[in-house]
Symmetry: C2
């Protein structure tokens, strides 16, 4: 992993969470403006999704079998007054390790693990007469074994540009963004390269989907510094279309998404240019790049 | 409660969550630009906080005794492989009411219930030589008995402008924004008025803090249509300063915040003007208002 970097304007909180301030926050905004321009150039609709997904939406993907280790659940107490009162009086475990939760209400929602699921959920049951492209930026939550500022956080910002269409339409979407991402990496002097990758399945040796991804790669990651994936291109074929019952011209729709891990871009840019230099580089891009 | 309104460009998901699209999302952005201008005029620093708060930060405020019914907890499984595998194989309760969670890891974090807590947490142990003003916009999570699109959501956007200083400095901050909010409501023809209010304490009759708020009101809400609080002014005196060990010139700091419930402003604006009219009204404000 890339050496630790002192990041100006970054606060770091226990539990793998960052606070962005000042110039680092300005850099974040400028970068997102850049992706929004890319999305606009691709004719994307923009949505602001809610922070949680219904568990049954993730069940359509067998998410809990594939990624049980990553999920963060939105839990609330059963609203029985005595149940709440007991928790209110004694909210801590005796050993101080965490909260002494009482009886929970049914757990129906999961904190968003990947932005694009919101897009498919909005299209359940539809048959599209034309491809659609949607962009959304949202916090994603993934519980990991360890956290590193900007590089691996429990909660991080993901910007995606998602295409739902025929295989050909989706392939064209991914190919055009592959080129744009490489050219951008070059102009920003990041030296990032695309590498085939797999999703972080639980118990991968036993996962048919993992084996499938190994045999027939459908995920490419844009890797900075040899080990930090700052973006990815994901071709889901008809997995999402089948799971969410989305069709395109009568056939099961195919889908693909272009994803940017926003905090990791901040890391890569600041590591490469320092913070003022990173802002200047993205400003140049916004002023005159191909975006 | 105000009559149900057909909101264009709003998606509504089970679990009290909204999806903003198109012109409604544009209106949201314009409104936030307006608050950011107000924050800038008040000399505020801006931060982008993480979505979760450490439970021990809320414990400083006795939050779990006061608001156990509102809290949403960020829960994850104990990472033992067998524990995860069992959940992955049988993720649902037999009655389908929710997920069949296995053994949880210690619960250490809570989804942000109010934006301003992030500000105090960042200042723990500091003695400020001058007042500081901070703005932040973030998703807040409050579990309620029922939800209504834009008006009462499990997750909603709150923009705050927070002042930490002496009593006099905080009072001046709140007073100037009280005037600005009333003038804005008038220009936008919302007809909103300030009313004294209390926080939604659990078991209020037994809460010393609730009784205190009744006797000596320190919370005013800007109320639209007779029953919808779209903003609030909160004077915490030294409650937050004492809880988070923040001083101002050697004395326990006083704090106050100006808060805007973003979705509720969308509701009030669209109810009053329709969506195109609401955008035009906020555009006029951005072009020439006193912001």
């Amino acid at each position: 992993m890339t050496a630790t970097l002192e990041i100006p304007d970054l606060g770091w909180r226990e539990g793998g969470q960052g606070v962005l301030r000042g110039d680092l926050l300005r850099l974040f905004r400028k970068l997102d403006t850049l992706w929004l321009r890319w999305a606009d150039a691709a004719g994307a609709l923009e949505i602001e999704p809610p922070p949680m997904l219904p568990a049954h939406a993730l069940q359509r993907l067998d998410y809990f079998a594939s990624f049980p280790h990553l999920a963060t659940f939105a839990c609330v107490h059963d609203e029985d007054a005595e149940n709440l009162a007991v928790f209110g009086k004694h909210p801590w475990q005796a050993d101080g390790s965490g909260l002494a939760l009482g009886r929970l209400a049914p757990t129906t929602h999961v904190l968003t693990p990947a932005a694009c699921y919101h897009v498919y959920l909005d299209l359940v049951g539809q048959d599209l007469a034309a491809p659609i492209t949607v962009t959304l930026g949202t916090r994603c939550f993934r519980r990991e074994k360890e956290f590193h500022p900007l590089r691996r956080q429990w909660a991080f910002h993901m910007r995606e540009i998602v295409c739902v269409g025929t295989a050909e339409e989706v392939r064209a979407h991914l190919a055009s963004h592959r080129t744009k991402m490489l050219e951008l990496s070059e102009r920003l002097e990041l030296g990032a390269t695309f590498e085939h990758a797999t999703d972080p399945f639980f118990n991968p040796g036993k996962s048919a989907r993992y084996l499938m991804q190994k045999i027939d790669p459908t995920k490419e990651e844009l890797v900075f510094g040899g080990d930090l994936a700052i973006g990815s291109l994901n071709f889901h074929r008809d997995t999402m279309g089948a799971a969410f019952e989305i069709r395109r011209g009568g056939e099961t729709a195919q889908t693909g998404c272009v994803a940017f891990g926003m905090e990791r871009w901040l890391f890569a840019l600041v590591q490469t240019h320092g913070l003022p230099g990173a802002i200047a580089a993205v400003d140049r891009e916004l002023d005159g790049g191909d975006a």
